[in-house]
Symmetry: C2
Subunit: 296 residues, 2 copies
């Protein structure tokens, strides 16, 4: 796929997902309207929608139907949005800016931010459980992967390790643990959910899982590099935050040059893992390229 064609693909899928998220959050019958508004404020904020697109693309890569993957894709974005909300809280990263706008607890208040995060995490599981296009068996498998990826052995575990590490010197192994859990686990779950929906075979599952892991590593190295080199306006969040918080990052441990090298390696690994896949996996390949080269 040429770069221009992929940009069109990305935009098309982002719109597809945003429109699905919009309808999933359209109910006007919620009594505490502030909660409804807070949930929408966070989930519908402009974003790359990497996780849902990974889910759609993985489903397609194994011959599944994109529309079958749409509900779980939205669930993944809800989990991602909830994690950002809670991560931004004063007791965590204490961030003021997210996706180009005030963080939820700044725009609303802290209590509402905690609850909107809780509500989005819960809604994610509901959205999967009631998805008409999924079999009972798929629902069960997807919820298992989502919970493993998002929970204490996945994303939340990584956030906790990150919280513990603030202001401390940590080893490269500890840093890898943090990132592979904090960011990587949900990226892996995104790919696995798509694979489940497309009824992937066991071998495909293994390759796609490893592809997700390589992507996760690339994603975080790039994130760390962008925090140093990126522009706040493009990123939609403050840069230099990691240094300010004395957070360990790949560049702070490996140096900038070595980090760039490892980023390239991770992207190459992701590519290699897709070798046995055909043209249907082209979006997955492009996503790997995009993750390593993005500017925001």
């Amino acid at each position: 796929m040429e770069e221009k064609k992929f940009k069109v693909y990305l935009k098309e899928k982002q719109e597809l997902i945003d429109s699905a998220l919009d309808s999933l959050l359209s109910r006007e019958d919620i009594f505490p309207m502030i909660l409804h508004r807070a949930m929408r404020y966070s989930v519908l904020a402009p974003g790359k929608r990497i996780r849902p697109i990974l889910c759609l693309a993985a489903c397609m890569a194994v011959g599944g139907k994109e529309e079958d993957a749409l509900a779980p894709a939205c669930a993944l974005e809800m989990i991602h949005a909830y994690s950002l909300i809670h991560d931004d809280l004063p007791a965590m990263d204490d961030d003021d800016l997210r996706r180009g706008r005030p963080t939820l607890h700044r725009a609303f208040n802290e209590g509402t931010a905690i609850l909107a995060g809780d509500a989005l995490l819960t809604l994610a599981f509901e959205v999967v459980a009631v998805a008409k296009r999924l079999t009972d068996r798929q629902v069960r498998q997807i919820i298992t992967e989502l919970a493993i990826g998002a929970g204490h052995r996945g994303m939340v575990g990584g956030q906790q390790a990150d919280l513990n590490a603030e202001g401390k010197t940590i080893t490269p192994e500890e840093l890898k643990y943090i990132h592979s859990h904090k960011t990587g686990a949900l990226l892996v779950a995104s790919v696995l959910c798509g694979a489940i929906i497309g009824d992937a075979g066991p071998k495909q599952m293994v390759h796609l899982k490893k592809y997700g892991q390589a992507n996760g590593l690339a994603f975080q190295i790039k994130d760390d590099l962008l925090d140093i080199e990126g522009k706040s306006a493009k990123l939609g969040k403050s840069t230099g935050q990691d240094k300010k918080a004395e957070k360990a990052t790949y560049p702070s441990i490996w140096g900038i040059e070595a980090s760039r090298e490892k980023l390239k390696e991770a992207t190459a690994t992701a590519f290699a893992l897709l070798e046995s896949f055909g043209e249907e996996a082209e979006p997955l390949r492009e996503i790997a390229r995009f993750i390593g080269e993005r500017e925001a």
Copy 2:
């Protein structure tokens, strides 16, 4: 069932649930041990285990097997524990004491409390999804009920409405909304999950849902009364908290005597709804009695 026999029943079920929760949280391989400890601190704190016991009892009442209901019962307690953790946070109720011990954010720290709550909510869904004794169809139905009961149309919606109402004068209708959602919704889900596991018929479902609602109302009126009349030592949390926070409660709106009257009515309604059930529903009847008469 005589009172003494019911006390034995309660204690037996509490031990059954505590032991199941203990094994579900026994993994020693969690890298951020503090997260593991925080989750255990909250879930395994002494408690009445009303929600899981309701789940077991509802399952039995429709002829199901208790052991089939054990995993979802634990999930309900995890959701309850998470809601207490987040509700106690400084940005919410700002409580120092819970179940006779410092609240989680006091015993650990605020960031860890937020994450432990998140992790418990996520684990609850995982525990149901991987429960070997449940069919795929039951898993799907249970997760739907849990999410509806716990999410923005249920418990979290009620917590948000409660947060919004602080320091304001609210109508009896608004108070009923808050409580039927904040407390009632998860109690209803507890009963419904048990009913799903026991393969209840549609009529039984309707009766059990209404039984859960009546129980929820009774539970909250009693809670409000205990906050005024109860002893801090027995409750394991500070009393007079509602007045301190200028929270609307049933006694503050209806007066103490009328609240006691409404409590009796709700308990009677719960009993009436079980009329078509046989002896297997005896625990459900005793739980309704217990909710109205408990001293903590």
